[in-house]
């Protein structure tokens, strides 16, 4: 069965395409991308003017909470949230209960994802058994079961020695090590960015240097081992500086920034809702200079990826004192709107660069399918509505959890539809498109 998506603006940076093209899907694959393709028996879908077709977006940092914390999220609800947010694929962190440090957990996640038939789910395995920071997990087994990277996310890898070993060992399989960069002693029992706002609200601080120290450590070890090191959820300007220096030195380091870190600052701790636990995440919202540095890094190419760090938490867990609330917010369903509004419409970057950040680069770093609309690749396509007026509504999120600080925000740009393997898995009811 063939489908011809006719007349949209196609943005595919991997192939240098940005213009009005047709996309022909044959079964679950991209058959052709070109101008004025012949219908030739295909079902024709005319793409309304103003919509953009791009390779399916990939969020390389989400927490799907299954197994073990299904009251927050499941693979199925997380995948539903992903496709509603325009993501055709997500890579999920191993800090489940039990930890994804063996093939059984990996295979369970993959089975749940296959059952859901929504977004592709790429598990990320643990660096160490139980993420305890002592012994390496069985990384070859994880790789064989389907893991695409390793990390002890939620915490940094416990010691420099273990991180070195992980880089060396995972390098054998071409798997990157993704690091939650943080010096635990500097972080201490901090709950918010160490700065004026935390000081005046009486919240214990987490200095930016705690993160940057972890980045510096990783960059040095990436140099030592020659392996690929990826900085998760970067938030501090000092971290960006370390990544930039590493890249200039030819070290294999990449990094990601979450939408909340390029949108919000620690001012949100005090207003509009003082002590709102939905602005509590780790790394914390930093000060304006850090937020601006993240924007600059996105514009100048230092930042490789936008990833959400989608971290669902139940309402009960967040409806507590600020210092007792868990870190994290959901992000899958607001990432595209925040990116279009704050980056593209703000004039910071152009659309092809955004697609690199959200699709091409995560596919390249994780060495997974997708990230392009090349002929013969799986037909994972996101259709964006860059000018759609979106009002974020927490209660309407597909995610099982509603912990977003963006409730009620009005943003310009959203998702029109999401296609995974040639199947339409999401159509935005606010956009008229005949899929």
């Amino acid at each position: 069965m063939k489908t011809l998506l006719r007349g949209g603006r196609v943005v595919d940076p991997a192939n240098g395409i940005d213009g009005s093209h047709d996309v022909l899907i044959d079964g679950d694959r991209i058959a052709r991308v070109g101008r004025d393709l012949p219908v030739d028996g295909a079902t024709v879908v005319d793409i309304p003017a103003g919509l953009v077709l791009c390779p399916g977006l990939i969020d390389m940092h989400v927490h799907l909470r299954e197994p073990g914390q299904e009251h927050k999220e499941t693979v199925a609800t997380g995948a539903a949230s992903a496709v509603a947010g325009g993501f055709t694929a997500v890579a999920c962190m191993p800090n489940t209960a039990p930890v994804n440090d063996n093939a059984n957990v990996t295979l369970l996640i993959l089975a749940k994802a296959a059952e859901a038939r929504l977004a592709r789910v790429y598990p990320i395995g643990a660096v160490s058994k139980g993420s305890k920071g002592e012994l390496l997990a069985d990384i070859a087994e994880l790789k064989q079961a389907g893991c695409v990277a390793i990390t002890d996310d939620g915490h940094p890898v416990a010691t420099a020695l273990l991180l070195r070993r992980a880089l060396e060992y995972a390098g054998m399989f071409g798997m990157p090590v993704i690091e939650h960069c943080e010096d635990p002693s500097l972080k201490g029992d901090g709950v918010a960015h160490e700065g004026f706002h935390a000081a005046s609200l009486g919240l214990r601080g987490i200095p930016a240097a705690a993160e940057a120290l972890g980045v510096e450590r990783g960059v040095l070890l990436a140099e030592l081992t020659g392996s690929a090191f990826h900085v998760a959820h970067m938030s501090a300007r000092a971290s960006l500086r370390a990544v930039r220096k590493g890249k200039e030195a030819g070290i294999r380091v990449t990094c990601e920034v979450a939408p909340h870190h390029f949108t919000l600052t620690d001012e949100a701790l005090g207003a509009p809702i003082p002590y709102d636990t939905n602005v509590k995440m780790n790394p914390p919202l930093r000060e304006a200079g850090d937020r601006d540095a993240m924007l600059a890094g996105i514009a100048d190419g230092t930042v490789d990826v936008i990833a959400t760090d989608h971290a669902p938490h139940h309402y009960d867990e967040k409806n507590v004192e600020f210092d007792r609330a868990p870190f994290g917010i959901v992000g899958l369903e607001t990432a595209v709107s925040l990116s279009l509004d704050r980056l593209v419409h703000a004039g910071l970057i152009r659309l092809p660069r955004l697609i690199e950040l959200l699709s091409t680069n995560p596919a390249r770093i994780l060495r997974i399918a997708g990230g392009s609309l090349s002929e013969g690749v799986p037909a994972d396509i996101t259709i964006l509505a860059p000018d759609l007026r979106v009002r974020v509504q927490a209660s309407a999120l597909r995610s099982r959890s509603k912990n977003t600080p963006f409730d009620g925000w009005q943003l310009r740009g959203g998702v029109a539809a999401t296609i995974v393997g040639g199947r339409t898995v999401f159509v935005n009811p606010d956009v008229s498109i005949n899929l």
């Binding site: 000081a199 005046s200 009486g202 214990r204 002590y275 409806n319 004192e321 210092d323």
Partner: protein, 326 residues
């Protein structure tokens, strides 16, 4: 003050605080602060009578919900409530259902279901009062939340200073000690700067909050500079448990560098006031000779605490307007 006291009995024309809660000094204007202090003067007179009671809060229920140990503040609130004829009850951690794992929100909702008028909250988490304020219809009075604010302490400090110095504007107030973890500091900085005093904070760099200058104060780690020409020297408690965080090497060394001795005090103005919110560590932040000396107003602070809390309770309940309605 006789006129003021008779005014209380005669439902005077004072303006109420136009707030549901007292969460912090941050939310008060200088005029509102002055109103509380003026009202407290009238309340103080009530405490000198043979029958120390006025009917201002008759029929009102006030819950003192204390999640942290406190003798001074809890007692002070309770006496204030009783002098205003409120029905009071005390819930302290250990006797409450918190030990059974109930959340603060659920505890608050359960109390709220019994229709109290005010909840006085002391809690170890900064922002706990804000959480309650969002949940509860009752007025929330912050009796100290984590490292954030302790507004009635700052009000009673201001009242005590004003009693001696007549006004706050233009005074140099040195605040010395553990600044980082102190809610008393944060409330006092807010209040004193709003009222025009010059505040100089002093402590070891490890115990000074980030970006402290943005609070509108000057800061130093040279205690002699802080004390020089000060009208008021306020010492903050050094919490012994902080030693684990290695904020400074030893209590002995702290006293050597920052302890308030008679010798250091000579650098201050001749009519300097020595204040301490308590509980004191004698020989750590303050020498006993200073604590017990002629410049100390530490017990006046405690005495004034009752009057200031009466004023806050009275004004939050609606002041004269409430009494008219009743």
């Amino acid at each position: 003050m006789t006129t003021a006291s008779s005014e209380i009995d005669q439902k005077p024309a004072v303006t109420a605080l136009r707030h549901k809660d007292l969460l912090g000094i941050t939310d008060l204007t200088p005029e509102e602060i002055a109103l509380v202090l003026d009202t407290a003067e009238a309340m103080k007179e009530v405490g000198t009578r043979p029958i120390k009671k006025v009917p201002a809060l008759r029929g009102k229920t006030v819950v003192n919900l204390f999640f942290e140990p406190s003798t001074r503040t809890r007692t002070s609130f309770e006496i204030a409530e009783k002098r205003l004829s409120a029905d009071t009850l005390n819930i302290a951690i250990g006797t409450s259902s918190v030990v059974k794992g109930e959340t603060l929100a659920d505890t608050a909702l359960n109390l709220e279901a019994m229709s109290p008028d005010m909840i006085v909250l002391r809690h170890s988490s900064s922002g706990a009062c804000h959480l309650l304020s969002r949940i509860c219809r009752s007025a929330i009075i912050n009796a100290g939340d984590g490292m954030h604010e302790h507004p009635t302490q700052a009000l009673l400090d201001a009242f005590t200073i004003r009693e001696r110095k007549k006004q706050l504007a233009g005074l140099k107030v040195a605040i010395i000690g553990d600044l980082l973890h102190s809610r008393v500091l944060r409330s006092n900085i807010q209040l004193l700067t709003k009222m025009g005093a010059k505040v100089c904070v002093c402590g070891p760099p490890t115990l000074i909050p980030t970006d402290v200058l943005r609070f509108g104060v000057s800061a130093t780690s040279v205690v002699e500079d802080a004390v020089a020409e000060a009208d008021v020297v306020m010492l903050l408690r050094i919490q012994l448990e902080r030693m684990e965080g290695a904020y400074f090497p030893s209590l002995r060394e702290y006293f050597r560098v920052f302890g308030m001795t008679e010798e250091r005090l000579r650098l201050a103005k001749s009519d300097v006031m020595i204040m301490h919110p308590g509980p004191m560590n004698r020989g750590v932040e303050i020498a006993s000779e200073v604590a017990d000396g002629p410049y100390s107003v530490i017990l006046d602070q405690v005495a004034n605490g009752v009057a200031v809390r009466m004023a806050v309770l009275y004004l939050l309940a609606g002041g004269a307007e409430h009494e008219d309605a009743a």
